[in-house]
Symmetry: D2
Subunit: 132 residues, 4 copies
Protein backbone atom coordinates (compact mmCIF):
# COMPACT_ATOMS: atom_id res chain seq x y z
CA UNK A 1 0.00 0.00 0.00
CA UNK A 2 3.07 2.27 -0.03
CA UNK A 3 2.53 2.57 -3.78
CA UNK A 4 -1.08 3.64 -3.36
CA UNK A 5 -0.06 6.28 -0.83
CA UNK A 6 2.55 7.46 -3.32
CA UNK A 7 0.00 7.52 -6.18
CA UNK A 8 -2.41 9.59 -4.13
CA UNK A 9 0.19 12.34 -3.68
CA UNK A 10 -0.54 13.40 -7.26
CA UNK A 11 -4.27 12.53 -7.17
CA UNK A 12 -6.29 15.75 -7.55
CA UNK A 13 -8.28 14.68 -4.48
CA UNK A 14 -5.45 13.38 -2.31
CA UNK A 15 -7.32 12.05 0.77
CA UNK A 16 -4.81 13.54 3.15
CA UNK A 17 -7.15 13.80 6.12
CA UNK A 18 -8.46 10.23 6.26
CA UNK A 19 -5.49 8.58 4.63
CA UNK A 20 -4.62 6.13 7.40
CA UNK A 21 -8.03 4.48 7.96
CA UNK A 22 -8.76 4.49 4.22
CA UNK A 23 -5.46 2.79 3.36
CA UNK A 24 -5.96 0.31 6.19
CA UNK A 25 -9.42 -0.59 4.93
CA UNK A 26 -8.27 -0.96 1.31
CA UNK A 27 -5.44 -3.21 2.43
CA UNK A 28 -7.74 -5.27 4.66
CA UNK A 29 -10.38 -5.72 1.93
CA UNK A 30 -7.73 -6.75 -0.57
CA UNK A 31 -6.15 -9.30 1.81
CA UNK A 32 -9.54 -10.61 2.92
CA UNK A 33 -10.72 -11.13 -0.67
CA UNK A 34 -7.53 -13.06 -1.47
CA UNK A 35 -7.67 -15.27 1.62
CA UNK A 36 -11.41 -15.92 1.31
CA UNK A 37 -10.87 -16.95 -2.31
CA UNK A 38 -8.07 -19.32 -1.29
CA UNK A 39 -10.02 -20.71 1.69
CA UNK A 40 -13.08 -21.26 -0.50
CA UNK A 41 -10.98 -23.27 -2.94
CA UNK A 42 -9.32 -25.23 -0.12
CA UNK A 43 -12.76 -26.10 1.32
CA UNK A 44 -13.95 -27.36 -2.08
CA UNK A 45 -10.75 -29.43 -2.37
CA UNK A 46 -11.29 -31.12 1.02
CA UNK A 47 -12.33 -34.79 1.22
CA UNK A 48 -15.86 -33.97 2.28
CA UNK A 49 -16.84 -30.57 0.87
CA UNK A 50 -20.55 -31.38 1.41
CA UNK A 51 -20.00 -31.10 5.16
CA UNK A 52 -18.59 -27.56 5.04
CA UNK A 53 -20.97 -25.81 2.66
CA UNK A 54 -21.55 -23.06 5.22
CA UNK A 55 -17.91 -22.04 4.91
CA UNK A 56 -17.86 -22.46 1.13
CA UNK A 57 -20.80 -20.08 0.87
CA UNK A 58 -19.54 -17.56 3.42
CA UNK A 59 -16.08 -17.27 1.86
CA UNK A 60 -17.57 -16.83 -1.63
CA UNK A 61 -19.90 -14.04 -0.54
CA UNK A 62 -17.21 -12.38 1.55
CA UNK A 63 -14.72 -12.37 -1.34
CA UNK A 64 -17.31 -10.80 -3.68
CA UNK A 65 -18.29 -8.13 -1.18
CA UNK A 66 -14.69 -7.29 -0.23
CA UNK A 67 -13.79 -6.83 -3.90
CA UNK A 68 -16.79 -4.54 -4.47
CA UNK A 69 -15.81 -2.56 -1.36
CA UNK A 70 -12.23 -2.34 -2.61
CA UNK A 71 -13.31 -0.92 -5.98
CA UNK A 72 -15.54 1.65 -4.28
CA UNK A 73 -12.90 2.75 -1.77
CA UNK A 74 -10.41 3.41 -4.56
CA UNK A 75 -12.73 6.11 -5.95
CA UNK A 76 -12.31 9.49 -4.32
CA UNK A 77 -14.33 11.66 -6.72
CA UNK A 78 -17.92 12.48 -5.78
CA UNK A 79 -18.14 9.96 -2.94
CA UNK A 80 -21.63 9.57 -1.51
CA UNK A 81 -21.22 9.20 2.26
CA UNK A 82 -24.44 7.26 2.84
CA UNK A 83 -23.60 4.65 0.18
CA UNK A 84 -20.07 4.30 1.51
CA UNK A 85 -21.35 3.64 5.02
CA UNK A 86 -23.90 1.13 3.77
CA UNK A 87 -21.25 -0.74 1.78
CA UNK A 88 -18.89 -0.76 4.77
CA UNK A 89 -21.66 -2.09 7.02
CA UNK A 90 -22.47 -4.87 4.55
CA UNK A 91 -18.77 -5.70 4.24
CA UNK A 92 -18.39 -5.80 8.01
CA UNK A 93 -21.39 -8.16 8.24
CA UNK A 94 -19.97 -10.45 5.53
CA UNK A 95 -16.62 -10.57 7.33
CA UNK A 96 -18.22 -11.33 10.71
CA UNK A 97 -20.32 -14.16 9.25
CA UNK A 98 -17.32 -15.62 7.45
CA UNK A 99 -15.14 -15.37 10.55
CA UNK A 100 -17.82 -17.24 12.54
CA UNK A 101 -18.05 -20.00 9.91
CA UNK A 102 -14.27 -20.34 9.80
CA UNK A 103 -14.07 -20.37 13.58
CA UNK A 104 -16.20 -23.53 13.73
CA UNK A 105 -13.77 -25.33 11.40
CA UNK A 106 -10.39 -23.96 12.27
CA UNK A 107 -9.23 -26.79 14.54
CA UNK A 108 -9.69 -29.36 11.76
CA UNK A 109 -9.02 -27.06 8.79
CA UNK A 110 -6.11 -24.75 9.58
CA UNK A 111 -6.65 -22.77 6.34
CA UNK A 112 -9.90 -21.54 7.89
CA UNK A 113 -7.91 -20.05 10.74
CA UNK A 114 -5.84 -17.87 8.41
CA UNK A 115 -9.03 -16.75 6.66
CA UNK A 116 -10.77 -16.06 9.97
CA UNK A 117 -7.99 -13.72 11.07
CA UNK A 118 -8.19 -11.78 7.78
CA UNK A 119 -11.98 -11.48 8.13
CA UNK A 120 -11.65 -10.14 11.67
CA UNK A 121 -9.09 -7.54 10.58
CA UNK A 122 -11.29 -6.49 7.66
CA UNK A 123 -14.41 -6.24 9.80
CA UNK A 124 -12.51 -3.99 12.22
CA UNK A 125 -11.08 -1.84 9.41
CA UNK A 126 -14.56 -1.33 7.88
CA UNK A 127 -15.94 -0.35 11.26
CA UNK A 128 -13.12 2.12 11.87
CA UNK A 129 -13.45 3.75 8.46
CA UNK A 130 -17.24 4.03 8.82
CA UNK A 131 -16.71 5.77 12.17
CA UNK A 132 -14.46 8.50 10.69
Amino acid sequence: MKDLEHLWKSHPLDPEKNRAPLLACIEACSACAVLCGACNDACIAENDPASIRGCIRATADCADICLATLRILLRLSATHAELLRSQLRTCQTACEICAAECDRLHSTHPHCHVCEEACKRCSQACWELASC
Copy 2:
Protein backbone atom coordinates in the same frame (compact mmCIF):
# COMPACT_ATOMS: atom_id res chain seq x y z
CA MET B 1 -34.25 -15.63 -17.13
CA LYS B 2 -36.34 -18.50 -18.52
CA ASP B 3 -33.09 -20.48 -18.66
CA LEU B 4 -32.32 -19.79 -15.02
CA GLU B 5 -35.80 -20.91 -14.00
CA HIS B 6 -35.24 -24.04 -16.07
CA LEU B 7 -31.83 -24.65 -14.48
CA TRP B 8 -33.27 -24.32 -10.99
CA LYS B 9 -35.71 -27.17 -11.65
CA SER B 10 -32.79 -29.58 -11.18
CA HIS B 11 -31.00 -27.52 -8.52
CA PRO B 12 -30.98 -29.49 -5.25
CA LEU B 13 -32.32 -26.36 -3.53
CA ASP B 14 -34.84 -25.23 -6.13
CA PRO B 15 -36.14 -21.94 -4.64
CA GLU B 16 -39.73 -22.78 -5.49
CA LYS B 17 -41.29 -20.61 -2.80
CA ASN B 18 -39.59 -17.30 -3.56
CA ARG B 19 -38.88 -17.92 -7.19
CA ALA B 20 -40.68 -14.91 -8.66
CA PRO B 21 -39.13 -12.10 -6.57
CA LEU B 22 -35.71 -13.79 -6.68
CA LEU B 23 -35.77 -14.09 -10.46
CA ALA B 24 -37.03 -10.54 -10.78
CA CYS B 25 -34.19 -9.23 -8.61
CA ILE B 26 -31.53 -11.23 -10.46
CA GLU B 27 -32.85 -9.92 -13.78
CA ALA B 28 -33.01 -6.34 -12.48
CA CYS B 29 -29.45 -6.45 -11.05
CA SER B 30 -28.11 -7.89 -14.28
CA ALA B 31 -29.84 -5.26 -16.44
CA CYS B 32 -28.87 -2.44 -14.08
CA ALA B 33 -25.20 -3.48 -14.07
CA VAL B 34 -25.17 -3.53 -17.88
CA LEU B 35 -26.91 -0.17 -18.30
CA CYS B 36 -24.84 1.53 -15.57
CA GLY B 37 -21.69 0.27 -17.27
CA ALA B 38 -22.85 1.63 -20.62
CA CYS B 39 -24.01 4.94 -19.14
CA ASN B 40 -20.71 5.34 -17.29
CA ASP B 41 -18.83 4.90 -20.55
CA ALA B 42 -21.18 7.28 -22.40
CA CYS B 43 -20.61 9.94 -19.70
CA ILE B 44 -16.83 9.60 -20.02
CA ALA B 45 -17.19 9.91 -23.82
CA GLU B 46 -19.18 13.16 -23.57
CA ASN B 47 -17.60 16.50 -24.56
CA ASP B 48 -17.28 17.67 -20.98
CA PRO B 49 -16.93 14.64 -18.67
CA ALA B 50 -15.55 16.88 -15.91
CA SER B 51 -19.00 18.42 -15.47
CA ILE B 52 -20.76 15.10 -14.86
CA ARG B 53 -18.41 13.37 -12.43
CA GLY B 54 -21.30 12.76 -10.03
CA CYS B 55 -22.93 10.49 -12.60
CA ILE B 56 -19.64 8.85 -13.60
CA ARG B 57 -19.05 7.93 -9.96
CA ALA B 58 -22.62 6.82 -9.22
CA THR B 59 -22.87 4.55 -12.27
CA ALA B 60 -19.48 2.95 -11.50
CA ASP B 61 -20.42 2.18 -7.89
CA CYS B 62 -23.89 1.00 -8.86
CA ALA B 63 -22.53 -1.40 -11.51
CA ASP B 64 -20.05 -2.89 -9.01
CA ILE B 65 -22.68 -3.33 -6.32
CA CYS B 66 -25.29 -4.79 -8.70
CA LEU B 67 -22.75 -7.37 -9.93
CA ALA B 68 -21.86 -8.37 -6.36
CA THR B 69 -25.58 -8.66 -5.54
CA LEU B 70 -26.12 -10.75 -8.65
CA ARG B 71 -23.37 -13.20 -7.67
CA ILE B 72 -24.77 -13.52 -4.16
CA LEU B 73 -28.37 -14.03 -5.30
CA LEU B 74 -27.32 -16.88 -7.58
CA ARG B 75 -26.15 -18.86 -4.53
CA LEU B 76 -28.90 -20.81 -2.81
CA SER B 77 -26.83 -23.01 -0.48
CA ALA B 78 -26.41 -21.86 3.11
CA THR B 79 -27.77 -18.36 2.54
CA HIS B 80 -27.36 -16.06 5.54
CA ALA B 81 -30.54 -13.97 5.75
CA GLU B 82 -28.96 -11.01 7.55
CA LEU B 83 -26.18 -10.66 4.98
CA LEU B 84 -28.64 -10.96 2.11
CA ARG B 85 -30.80 -8.18 3.54
CA SER B 86 -27.76 -5.95 4.12
CA GLN B 87 -26.56 -6.49 0.55
CA LEU B 88 -30.03 -5.77 -0.84
CA ARG B 89 -30.26 -2.58 1.23
CA THR B 90 -26.87 -1.41 -0.02
CA CYS B 91 -27.86 -2.25 -3.59
CA GLN B 92 -31.14 -0.36 -3.21
CA THR B 93 -29.21 2.66 -1.89
CA ALA B 94 -26.74 2.53 -4.79
CA CYS B 95 -29.60 2.36 -7.29
CA GLU B 96 -31.46 5.26 -5.69
CA ILE B 97 -28.36 7.47 -5.67
CA CYS B 98 -27.58 6.60 -9.29
CA ALA B 99 -31.18 7.22 -10.37
CA ALA B 100 -31.05 10.65 -8.72
CA GLU B 101 -27.75 11.54 -10.46
CA CYS B 102 -29.13 10.38 -13.81
CA ASP B 103 -32.36 12.29 -13.24
CA ARG B 104 -30.44 15.58 -13.07
CA LEU B 105 -28.88 14.91 -16.48
CA HIS B 106 -31.52 13.09 -18.44
CA SER B 107 -32.87 16.05 -20.40
CA THR B 108 -29.44 16.77 -21.89
CA HIS B 109 -28.08 13.19 -21.85
CA PRO B 110 -30.79 10.76 -22.91
CA HIS B 111 -28.57 7.74 -22.09
CA CYS B 112 -28.94 8.76 -18.44
CA HIS B 113 -32.69 8.37 -18.77
CA VAL B 114 -32.39 4.71 -19.82
CA CYS B 115 -30.00 4.10 -16.93
CA GLU B 116 -32.30 5.89 -14.48
CA GLU B 117 -35.22 3.64 -15.36
CA ALA B 118 -33.08 0.51 -14.84
CA CYS B 119 -31.89 1.82 -11.47
CA LYS B 120 -35.46 2.47 -10.35
CA ARG B 121 -36.56 -1.03 -11.35
CA CYS B 122 -33.58 -2.57 -9.55
CA SER B 123 -34.13 -0.52 -6.41
CA GLN B 124 -37.77 -1.70 -6.36
CA ALA B 125 -36.79 -5.35 -6.99
CA CYS B 126 -34.24 -5.28 -4.14
CA TRP B 127 -36.83 -3.79 -1.81
CA GLU B 128 -39.41 -6.42 -2.75
CA LEU B 129 -37.01 -9.32 -2.31
CA ALA B 130 -35.83 -7.99 1.05
CA SER B 131 -39.47 -7.80 2.17
CA CYS B 132 -40.15 -11.49 1.42
Copy 3:
Protein backbone atom coordinates in the same frame (compact mmCIF):
# COMPACT_ATOMS: atom_id res chain seq x y z
CA MET C 1 -30.79 -5.75 -24.56
CA LYS C 2 -33.40 -3.47 -26.16
CA ASP C 3 -32.58 -0.96 -23.40
CA LEU C 4 -28.88 -1.07 -24.20
CA GLU C 5 -29.56 -0.48 -27.88
CA HIS C 6 -31.77 2.43 -26.86
CA LEU C 7 -29.08 3.84 -24.54
CA TRP C 8 -26.46 3.66 -27.29
CA LYS C 9 -28.56 5.92 -29.53
CA SER C 10 -27.42 8.86 -27.39
CA HIS C 11 -23.92 7.48 -26.66
CA PRO C 12 -21.34 9.81 -28.26
CA LEU C 13 -19.76 6.70 -29.81
CA ASP C 14 -22.91 4.83 -30.87
CA PRO C 15 -21.50 1.54 -32.28
CA GLU C 16 -23.85 1.62 -35.25
CA LYS C 17 -21.69 -0.47 -37.53
CA ASN C 18 -21.06 -3.49 -35.30
CA ARG C 19 -24.15 -3.17 -33.18
CA ALA C 20 -25.65 -6.62 -33.82
CA PRO C 21 -22.62 -8.84 -33.00
CA LEU C 22 -21.67 -6.58 -30.08
CA LEU C 23 -25.15 -6.72 -28.55
CA ALA C 24 -25.29 -10.48 -29.13
CA CYS C 25 -21.96 -10.98 -27.35
CA ILE C 26 -22.93 -8.76 -24.41
CA GLU C 27 -26.18 -10.66 -24.03
CA ALA C 28 -24.43 -14.04 -24.31
CA CYS C 29 -21.74 -13.11 -21.74
CA SER C 30 -24.37 -11.84 -19.33
CA ALA C 31 -26.52 -14.97 -19.65
CA CYS C 32 -23.50 -17.28 -19.46
CA ALA C 33 -22.20 -15.60 -16.29
CA VAL C 34 -25.63 -15.98 -14.64
CA LEU C 35 -26.08 -19.63 -15.63
CA CYS C 36 -22.49 -20.59 -14.75
CA GLY C 37 -22.98 -18.99 -11.33
CA ALA C 38 -26.22 -20.91 -10.80
CA CYS C 39 -24.74 -24.19 -12.08
CA ASN C 40 -21.68 -23.77 -9.85
CA ASP C 41 -23.95 -23.36 -6.83
CA ALA C 42 -26.11 -26.33 -7.89
CA CYS C 43 -22.98 -28.51 -8.22
CA ILE C 44 -21.82 -27.52 -4.73
CA ALA C 45 -25.31 -28.34 -3.39
CA GLU C 46 -25.30 -31.85 -4.90
CA ASN C 47 -24.93 -34.92 -2.67
CA ASP C 48 -21.39 -35.59 -3.79
CA PRO C 49 -19.73 -32.32 -4.81
CA ALA C 50 -16.28 -33.93 -4.47
CA SER C 51 -16.99 -36.00 -7.58
CA ILE C 52 -17.75 -33.00 -9.80
CA ARG C 53 -14.95 -30.59 -8.93
CA GLY C 54 -14.07 -30.26 -12.62
CA CYS C 55 -17.44 -28.64 -13.25
CA ILE C 56 -17.31 -26.55 -10.06
CA ARG C 57 -13.98 -25.12 -11.18
CA ALA C 58 -14.95 -24.61 -14.83
CA THR C 59 -18.19 -22.79 -14.02
CA ALA C 60 -16.43 -20.53 -11.50
CA ASP C 61 -13.71 -19.54 -13.97
CA CYS C 62 -16.19 -19.11 -16.81
CA ALA C 63 -18.45 -16.83 -14.74
CA ASP C 64 -15.48 -14.63 -13.75
CA ILE C 65 -14.21 -14.36 -17.31
CA CYS C 66 -17.66 -13.69 -18.81
CA LEU C 67 -18.22 -10.87 -16.31
CA ALA C 68 -14.83 -9.32 -17.14
CA THR C 69 -15.64 -9.61 -20.86
CA LEU C 70 -19.04 -8.02 -20.27
CA ARG C 71 -17.50 -5.01 -18.50
CA ILE C 72 -14.97 -4.54 -21.29
CA LEU C 73 -17.53 -4.84 -24.09
CA LEU C 74 -19.68 -2.12 -22.51
CA ARG C 75 -16.82 0.37 -22.99
CA LEU C 76 -16.74 1.97 -26.42
CA SER C 77 -14.20 4.76 -25.80
CA ALA C 78 -10.61 4.15 -26.82
CA THR C 79 -11.03 0.42 -27.39
CA HIS C 80 -7.77 -1.41 -28.04
CA ALA C 81 -8.48 -4.00 -30.73
CA GLU C 82 -5.68 -6.40 -29.74
CA LEU C 83 -6.81 -6.55 -26.12
CA LEU C 84 -10.43 -7.02 -27.13
CA ARG C 85 -9.51 -9.96 -29.34
CA SER C 86 -7.36 -11.52 -26.62
CA GLN C 87 -10.18 -11.20 -24.08
CA LEU C 88 -12.69 -12.68 -26.53
CA ARG C 89 -10.34 -15.60 -27.23
CA THR C 90 -9.89 -16.28 -23.53
CA CYS C 91 -13.64 -16.06 -22.99
CA GLN C 92 -14.27 -18.45 -25.88
CA THR C 93 -11.77 -20.90 -24.35
CA ALA C 94 -13.39 -20.66 -20.92
CA CYS C 95 -16.83 -21.31 -22.44
CA GLU C 96 -15.60 -24.29 -24.47
CA ILE C 97 -13.95 -25.88 -21.42
CA CYS C 98 -17.03 -25.31 -19.30
CA ALA C 99 -19.34 -26.69 -21.99
CA ALA C 100 -17.17 -29.82 -22.17
CA GLU C 101 -17.25 -30.30 -18.37
CA CYS C 102 -21.03 -29.80 -18.33
CA ASP C 103 -21.46 -32.19 -21.23
CA ARG C 104 -19.93 -35.02 -19.20
CA LEU C 105 -22.50 -34.49 -16.43
CA HIS C 106 -25.65 -33.43 -18.17
CA SER C 107 -27.42 -36.79 -18.20
CA THR C 108 -27.24 -37.04 -14.41
CA HIS C 109 -27.30 -33.30 -13.61
CA PRO C 110 -29.80 -31.54 -15.89
CA HIS C 111 -28.73 -28.10 -14.60
CA CYS C 112 -25.41 -28.72 -16.36
CA HIS C 113 -27.27 -29.07 -19.63
CA VAL C 114 -28.76 -25.57 -19.36
CA CYS C 115 -25.32 -24.19 -18.50
CA GLU C 116 -23.71 -26.06 -21.39
CA GLU C 117 -26.09 -24.50 -23.90
CA ALA C 118 -25.33 -21.00 -22.57
CA CYS C 119 -21.58 -21.67 -22.78
CA LYS C 120 -21.90 -22.82 -26.39
CA ARG C 121 -23.88 -19.73 -27.35
CA CYS C 122 -21.34 -17.48 -25.62
CA SER C 123 -18.38 -19.21 -27.23
CA GLN C 124 -20.01 -18.70 -30.64
CA ALA C 125 -20.85 -15.05 -29.92
CA CYS C 126 -17.24 -14.33 -28.85
CA TRP C 127 -15.92 -15.97 -31.99
CA GLU C 128 -18.29 -13.98 -34.20
CA LEU C 129 -17.46 -10.67 -32.58
CA ALA C 130 -13.73 -11.36 -32.79
CA SER C 131 -14.16 -12.07 -36.51
CA CYS C 132 -15.77 -8.67 -37.24
Copy 4:
Protein backbone atom coordinates in the same frame (compact mmCIF):
# COMPACT_ATOMS: atom_id res chain seq x y z
CA MET D 1 1.17 -12.76 0.74
CA LYS D 2 2.80 -14.41 3.77
CA ASP D 3 -0.74 -15.23 4.92
CA LEU D 4 -1.61 -16.89 1.63
CA GLU D 5 1.53 -18.99 1.78
CA HIS D 6 0.59 -19.94 5.33
CA LEU D 7 -3.00 -20.81 4.27
CA TRP D 8 -1.74 -23.02 1.45
CA LYS D 9 0.20 -25.18 3.94
CA SER D 10 -3.13 -26.77 4.91
CA HIS D 11 -4.69 -26.59 1.43
CA PRO D 12 -5.26 -30.16 0.16
CA LEU D 13 -3.51 -29.11 -3.07
CA ASP D 14 -0.66 -27.07 -1.61
CA PRO D 15 1.11 -25.74 -4.76
CA GLU D 16 4.54 -26.48 -3.35
CA LYS D 17 6.29 -26.82 -6.68
CA ASN D 18 5.25 -23.55 -8.34
CA ARG D 19 4.67 -21.60 -5.17
CA ALA D 20 7.08 -18.72 -5.83
CA PRO D 21 5.91 -17.67 -9.33
CA LEU D 22 2.26 -18.24 -8.39
CA LEU D 23 2.52 -16.10 -5.25
CA ALA D 24 4.40 -13.43 -7.19
CA CYS D 25 1.70 -13.32 -9.87
CA ILE D 26 -1.16 -13.17 -7.34
CA GLU D 27 0.59 -10.34 -5.53
CA ALA D 28 1.29 -8.49 -8.79
CA CYS D 29 -2.32 -8.84 -10.04
CA SER D 30 -3.67 -7.64 -6.72
CA ALA D 31 -1.37 -4.60 -6.62
CA CYS D 32 -1.97 -3.79 -10.29
CA ALA D 33 -5.77 -3.92 -9.88
CA VAL D 34 -5.55 -1.55 -6.91
CA LEU D 35 -3.22 0.93 -8.60
CA CYS D 36 -5.13 0.86 -11.91
CA GLY D 37 -8.35 1.55 -10.01
CA ALA D 38 -6.74 4.48 -8.19
CA CYS D 39 -5.10 5.84 -11.37
CA ASN D 40 -8.41 5.57 -13.26
CA ASP D 41 -10.11 7.63 -10.56
CA ALA D 42 -7.27 10.16 -10.50
CA CYS D 43 -7.51 10.57 -14.31
CA ILE D 44 -11.27 11.19 -14.07
CA ALA D 45 -10.62 13.76 -11.31
CA GLU D 46 -8.10 15.71 -13.44
CA ASN D 47 -9.01 19.12 -14.89
CA ASP D 48 -9.32 17.79 -18.40
CA PRO D 49 -10.36 14.11 -18.31
CA ALA D 50 -11.51 14.30 -21.95
CA SER D 51 -7.87 14.58 -23.04
CA ILE D 52 -6.78 11.36 -21.29
CA ARG D 53 -9.56 8.94 -22.21
CA GLY D 54 -6.98 6.45 -23.50
CA CYS D 55 -5.60 6.07 -19.98
CA ILE D 56 -9.07 6.06 -18.37
CA ARG D 57 -10.04 3.17 -20.64
CA ALA D 58 -6.79 1.24 -20.29
CA THR D 59 -6.75 1.40 -16.47
CA ALA D 60 -10.41 0.30 -16.29
CA ASP D 61 -9.85 -2.73 -18.53
CA CYS D 62 -6.59 -3.62 -16.81
CA ALA D 63 -8.19 -3.52 -13.34
CA ASP D 64 -11.05 -5.79 -14.47
CA ILE D 65 -8.71 -8.29 -16.10
CA CYS D 66 -6.26 -8.34 -13.18
CA LEU D 67 -9.12 -9.04 -10.76
CA ALA D 68 -10.41 -11.90 -12.95
CA THR D 69 -6.87 -13.29 -13.16
CA LEU D 70 -6.51 -13.00 -9.39
CA ARG D 71 -9.71 -14.97 -8.76
CA ILE D 72 -8.61 -17.69 -11.18
CA LEU D 73 -5.09 -18.00 -9.76
CA LEU D 74 -6.49 -18.51 -6.25
CA ARG D 75 -8.17 -21.73 -7.43
CA LEU D 76 -5.92 -24.77 -7.35
CA SER D 77 -8.49 -27.54 -7.90
CA ALA D 78 -8.94 -28.89 -11.43
CA THR D 79 -6.94 -26.13 -13.11
CA HIS D 80 -7.12 -26.22 -16.90
CA ALA D 81 -3.64 -25.35 -18.19
CA GLU D 82 -4.78 -23.97 -21.55
CA LEU D 83 -7.29 -21.57 -19.97
CA LEU D 84 -4.75 -20.43 -17.40
CA ARG D 85 -2.22 -19.61 -20.12
CA SER D 86 -4.84 -17.76 -22.18
CA GLN D 87 -5.90 -15.70 -19.16
CA LEU D 88 -2.27 -14.90 -18.32
CA ARG D 89 -1.60 -13.84 -21.91
CA THR D 90 -4.65 -11.56 -21.92
CA CYS D 91 -3.61 -10.11 -18.57
CA GLN D 92 -0.08 -9.50 -19.84
CA THR D 93 -1.50 -7.72 -22.90
CA ALA D 94 -3.79 -5.55 -20.74
CA CYS D 95 -0.84 -4.60 -18.52
CA GLU D 96 1.40 -3.75 -21.47
CA ILE D 97 -1.25 -1.55 -23.07
CA CYS D 98 -1.94 0.21 -19.79
CA ALA D 99 1.77 0.73 -19.12
CA ALA D 100 2.14 2.30 -22.58
CA GLU D 101 -0.83 4.66 -22.00
CA CYS D 102 0.55 5.65 -18.59
CA ASP D 103 4.01 6.16 -20.03
CA ARG D 104 2.71 8.88 -22.36
CA LEU D 105 1.27 10.80 -19.40
CA HIS D 106 3.66 10.21 -16.59
CA SER D 107 5.65 13.43 -16.84
CA THR D 108 2.51 15.53 -16.37
CA HIS D 109 0.52 13.06 -14.23
CA PRO D 110 2.83 11.41 -11.70
CA HIS D 111 0.05 9.01 -10.56
CA CYS D 112 0.36 7.40 -14.00
CA HIS D 113 3.99 6.64 -13.26
CA VAL D 114 3.13 4.61 -10.15
CA CYS D 115 0.49 2.74 -12.14
CA GLU D 116 2.88 2.13 -15.02
CA GLU D 117 5.41 0.47 -12.73
CA ALA D 118 2.72 -1.84 -11.29
CA CYS D 119 1.58 -2.78 -14.80
CA LYS D 120 5.12 -3.62 -15.85
CA ARG D 121 5.64 -5.81 -12.78
CA CYS D 122 2.33 -7.59 -13.39
CA SER D 123 3.05 -8.14 -17.08
CA GLN D 124 6.39 -9.69 -16.14
CA ALA D 125 4.84 -11.88 -13.41
CA CYS D 126 2.16 -13.18 -15.83
CA TRP D 127 4.82 -13.99 -18.39
CA GLU D 128 6.94 -15.82 -15.83
CA LEU D 129 4.05 -17.87 -14.49
CA ALA D 130 2.91 -18.78 -18.00
CA SER D 131 6.44 -19.99 -18.74
CA CYS D 132 6.51 -22.42 -15.79
